[in-house]
């Protein structure tokens, strides 16, 4: 049995509300709240970046864990806000975690699905016997151009998953990927903020790819929407994942527990995985979980998992971490970017 043996997450304490951003730009907060379904978003402080957040989440994953750090044979970090253009985040993270030097390290980049692609590689790595454990972090300190619609959603967070074959809490059943050349969102080298093609990011991008990956997964596994207790879709906002769920034949009840985007915003590479952390807080052994990420450019990775008894010992409470928060003004927010 392969799957996720342990996990950790990190959300910075700072929050900026949709209302505060809207007020700054002279917009109607209520209309933006209704159209995006985001109340506030988490944002990393001045001394935080995708590396520090990945580290925090990895420490949570390894702390009190039965995993021997020296048996981690690979470290993959997925992000679209790696601190360096050239210089791997994965090696700095490996060094900070004191896992020795006998490990493979690389960074991945694929907009918001950089980490789920790395998880598939990690699963293959473990299955092939190359490593006992692989540590995968999805982490982002995402930003939007001042005044752009992304300002309301682009947030900060990190999730780390340890992939292995011993005492897995989430058994991997199967996965599918669906990819195409669809330029809906991009950031060129040397440019600080991403660009996007407005409404084109919806139907031909997010929905088309998530539908492609999920339908293919359902066909491959011969499972039906009702066979899953809960589902998690990438959360660019609070509206898209619900729409996608309903159109695929799932119910609102199956997706609602994952919708951390309302309180955290879209943490890009960590977004869908953060939804998984929220779902694991209430999952019981035997339940099936479906997760589908989405990365602009574009692609979606869909996974079918089964919760095992080990969740009972390894469960972590995201809700508790989220209680720790401090709302900041728009001016302070800009200083943190």
């Amino acid at each position: 049995m392969i799957g996720i043996c342990d996990y950790g997450f990190y959300v910075p304490r700072y929050r900026i509300s949709t209302e505060e951003i809207a007020r700054h730009w002279g917009k109607n907060p209520e209309q933006i709240l209704n159209s995006l379904g985001i109340v506030e978003k988490a944002i990393g402080g001045a001394d935080e970046d995708s590396l520090t957040m990945a580290y925090e989440s990895a420490v949570m994953a390894l702390c009190d864990s039965d995993i021997d750090r020296k048996q981690i044979g690979a470290v993959f970090v997925g992000s679209e806000t790696h601190p360096y253009a050239v210089n791997p985040t994965a090696t700095i993270l490996g060094e900070y975690l004191d896992i020795g030097n006998d490990y493979l390290a690389y960074d991945t980049q694929f907009a918001c699905k950089a980490a789920t692609g790395a998880i598939i590689s990690a699963l293959a790595h473990v299955k092939a016997g190359f490593s006992q454990y692989v540590l995968v972090s999805g982490t982002d300190k995402a930003t939007g151009q001042p005044g752009d619609a992304l300002e309301y959603s682009a947030g900060s967070a990190a999730v780390t998953c340890i992939i292995g074959s011993k005492n897995v809490l989430l058994e991997y059943i199967d996965s599918t990927s669906f990819s195409s050349d669809t330029p809906d969102f991009w950031r060129r080298s040397g440019i600080s903020h991403p660009s996007h093609a407005g409404r084109f990011t919806g139907e031909p991008a997010y929905f088309h790819h998530i539908f492609g990956a999920v339908n293919s997964l359902l066909k491959k596994t011969r499972l039906k929407p009702k066979d899953f207790t809960r589902i998690i879709f990438h959360m660019p906002n609070g509206v898209f994942p619900v729409k996608a769920a309903l159109r695929l034949g799932f119910t609102e009840a199956q997706v609602k527990e994952s919708l951390v985007v309302k309180q955290l915003g879209n943490s890009y590479s960590a977004s869908a995985l953060m939804g998984l952390c929220a779902v694991l807080e209430i999952s019981q052994p035997g339940e099936r979980i479906l997760l589908a990420s989405y990365g602009s450019g574009a692609g979606s990775d869909a996974f079918a998992f089964k919760v095992t008894k080990h969740i009972l010992q390894k469960r972590k409470l995201l809700s508790k971490l989220l209680e720790r928060k401090e709302n900041i003004s728009y001016d302070t927010y800009r200083k943190f970017l």
């Binding site: 109607n28 209309q31 660009s195 093609a197 407005g198 409404r199 084109f200 031909p204």
Partner: protein
Amino acid sequence: MTTIIGHHTTKFGELWQHSLFDLVKQSVFGALKDSGLGKDEVEAIFFGNMLGGVLENNLHGGAKLAEMLGLNIPIFRVESACASGGVAFNLGMNYITSSQAKTVLVVGAEKMTDYAADAVISGLSSATSGEEQEAGLTFPGLYAMLARYYLEKYSYTEKHLAYVSVKNHYHGLLNDNAHFQKKITVADVLASPYVADPLKVLDSSPISDGASALIITTDKSLIKKAKRAVSVLASEVATDSISLSARKNLDELLATRIAAEKAFREAKITPKDISIAEVHDCFSIAELLAMEDLGFWKKGTAGKHMETMSTMHGNGSDFIVNSSGGLKAAGHPVGATGIKQIGEVYLQLTEQAGKRQIHKPRYGLAHNVGGSGGTAVVTILGN
């Protein structure tokens, strides 16, 4: 008399899977099919398009059409901002009158949704005066100034503007090709965010993709053979100062008034004879001004008239305005709009307008505006 014998309008909206010339092709071959003509029977083409050069670096559209159709006939690209389609039609009409040609195809098309909104707004703003661009005015800003002046002068409120969008969205619901298929209320319009006070999102036409084509001819044998034919009684173009600051009156678009007066004189009918009109509602205020400038309603009374919704399909009136959904709901791919408007009148007069068909219309009018009234085209069709 010059007669329309074929028409095709594509779906309007966010057509991401189609390029500008995919849409041109669809509408051209659709119109040829509708008319029963082969492409070799077309003697010249007029192609209305505004933004191909600005957004796509694509200006030699005539030669692209020649390649697409395998023809070597005269093809002219026509640009006159949002009146590109209407002006292309007018030039096609004049070409027939002044040359040996008897049969001309007129096509208008625009591809707008592949580009970032700020690039499209900047491109559209190239149709405003340089001085007003420098002052920071965009089209919403210019029309907002006209709206403010009109509401103030005639003691109307934003609610009087909202009725235009409510009516046109209802019509859009009856038109499968419309960009928006959604009914809205006055409250929805009033609650939508401001674009340029007093104009809101739901007072404004959208950025759309689409194309529309018409075939016009004076060839008697083709007219006789045609399944459906409608005569063009008048097509008139008038211009006015591009800058609002150089206009005498801000409660009218003078170019519309001049073009309409000439067109009615030419067609030998009066506004009362019109049963169906497609008017240029790029913003809600534009429909109020158009209804007065075209001579349908007295100056200053459009707000009151709109409140009765008498020009809405199904309200028992024999005069319906913007049955296609107008620019507001059918969408506004700028180069296509002027052709689509004439096409809608053609559909109504030939009783092909489906769910939005009005009862036995005899005369119809199409009104296409470029910029904030720098150009206006008025076309009158009749059975």
